[in-house]
Symmetry: C2
């Protein structure tokens, strides 16, 4: 869609459309309205920043994350910004708040303001939404899987299923059998994979799954507290709990303490993420070290590769980063404190 | 500065300038260059979003914070976003990283993209910078004091000096005399006020100030760790430590634990902020409850007041919110756990 088509359809000159866009006060109201109607009808977006002046580039990227109060997303965001800053780009950070309408609105704004690229972190957006961005010539990179099935878009992620399998495997190896999982309701696909890893580890040992040991909760400290309390209230309280994020573990450990349950002596914990605070709570949290900052760095580099090369050959790339188990005190392991790769 | 002046100076018609802005490919290279030179010389910013289409408003505000890894700023940001979302506005979040050049670049971008208003959180920007924004018709609201002296711009803040005075007063009331302070190097003015409050409380009791008890550190967990270690290494270790932020306290408490010092039995702590995690560490942190989310909410409301009323009568407003001391375990207070207003 370009300005000529708008002019043709409105039956005016290109200069008049231009005037409406830049100096609406100089155009007669009737004419102006007619042109605005056509613009709306044709969904014409004048890409000012892409074409005006010398701005073929805006030196700005957009970064959409699900929740600004979740430290793990902020560490990813910091990784993206570090690269962006190095490249002398600016980063506009948008908080999708786990709501697809909000994500769509932000993407719309970023596209209209002609950012040079967009990084989506554990997004809810669907294939159509992403196609709407890329067909405007704005490259997209995913960090963490989207809720929907997105094909052909570069992605940086970790093996959630494998990492969770190893975490639960570790609990089994120490001697626990009654192992529960608290998993966040978001991000959906990643947490589904974590549940799969948990199940696989149990199945391998012939441990029968108990339905009440699978607890879904909002991915917040409060969500962890409530789920932890539910597990503590069970007739047969689990001996160990794996959580799909550190903040869920923080909440659940707090619930145990509030109810006089000793961690790890009575209930052991393994978290997921290794956010900065996981090393400061008591007991220090055994957790899967997700390379959050690195995911941000690698994702941003991938985006700049595409921007710089105009996308040759890179559209279908998937980068899988390694995570490892960081063993501290909360799992109740007696001897080995360290890392399992 | 408007397009007519650009056209006059370049010796071309307004339509030609318009074409350069919107369809540069349709203008002869020589003419285009001449016009671009004039545009640059006159510092003409075509305010597309302000005047084009029906966009008198862009329904977007900018929010500039000093550090996305600091949870206290994210809680303020969440408050701003909550109001913004309610008003059906979007928020573009920018991470200034405590660097004035970076803040200036972001402000420049937000202004060029014609946001409807800007919220600056504990910013480094100076009067001139802010005047550059407001004279373009974009209202600014401050949350927390800027480093420089900014007059005539609406601000939401707390009484840092009074709150710190009360926190140290509380430590004195429990019986401590050897009280140190760890204060962040940023935000500068706010932390200077916290040091003033600390000094006032000591002076009132005739407690002689020890230079080595005033420790400046980067406002991070790591900064707190290093400052905590320095205090622990002193010949005369303090009996209590007040920190200008919770994350500084987290780091310093961790340093004490690593060196076998019991908190609060051997060294007591009072923090500042009451971020979510301060209730989860061991021992739970006594801290000044800064109404972070509320500061964000009030700041955003103030901004929307100005946007909605076009700034009548509001330019000189200052809103002072109350903070209170939240007494938990880390200060070693034996009986009273609760709040002091």
């Amino acid at each position: 869609m370009n300005i000529k088509e708008v002019a043709k359809k409105a039956g005016v000159s290109v200069a008049t459309v231009s005037r409406v866009l830049n100096h609406p006060e100089s155009v007669a109201p009737d004419t102006k309205q007619r042109i605005l109607d056509v613009i709306q009808e044709l969904e014409y977006t004048p890409n000012w920043f892409a074409r005006g002046l010398n701005f073929n580039k805006t030196d700005t990227i957009g970064l959409l994350i699900p929740n600004i109060l979740n430290p793990s997303y902020m560490e990813i965001a910091k990784g993206v910004e570090d690269v962006s800053h190095q490249k002398n780009y600016n980063t506009l950070l948008c908080n999708g708040e786990n709501a697809i309408e909000k994500e769509r609105k932000y993407v719309d704004i970023l596209v209209k303001r002609r950012v040079d690229g967009i990084v989506l972190v554990s997004s809810l957006l669907e294939s159509d939404d992403i196609e709407n961005i890329t067909k405007q010539g704005i490259p997209v990179v995913l960090i963490g899987e989207n809720r929907g099935d997105i094909k052909g878009i570069p992605i940086v992620r970790i093996d959630c299923e494998g990492a969770s399998y190893k975490a639960v495997r570790h609990l089994i190896d120490i001697g626990y059998k009654d192992i529960a999982i608290i998993y966040g309701s978001t991000p959906e696909k990643e947490n589904k994979r974590k549940v799969d890893g948990y199940r696989q580890a149990l199945a391998e040992e012939g441990i029968t799954e108990r339905e009440e040991y699978l607890q879904e909760a909002p991915n917040t400290i409060e969500g962890g507290y409530i789920a932890g309390k539910r597990l503590n209230d069970l007739k047969h309280r689990p001996r160990a709990i794996f959580t799909s994020s550190d903040i869920l573990a923080f909440g659940a450990i707090d619930a145990m303490k509030d109810h006089g349950v000793k961690v790890p002596e009575e209930v052991a914990f393994v978290g997921f993420d290794n956010i900065r605070m996981s090393n400061l709570i008591e007991p220090k949290l055994t957790t899967v070290e997700k390379p959050m900052h690195k995911m941000g760095v690698v994702g941003a580099r991938l985006l700049f590769d595409i921007i710089d090369t105009k996308g040759e050959d890179i559209t279908n790339r998937e980068i899988l980063l390694q995570s490892k188990l960081k063993i501290r005190k909360s799992c109740g392991h007696k001897e080995r404190i360290g890392e399992i790769f």
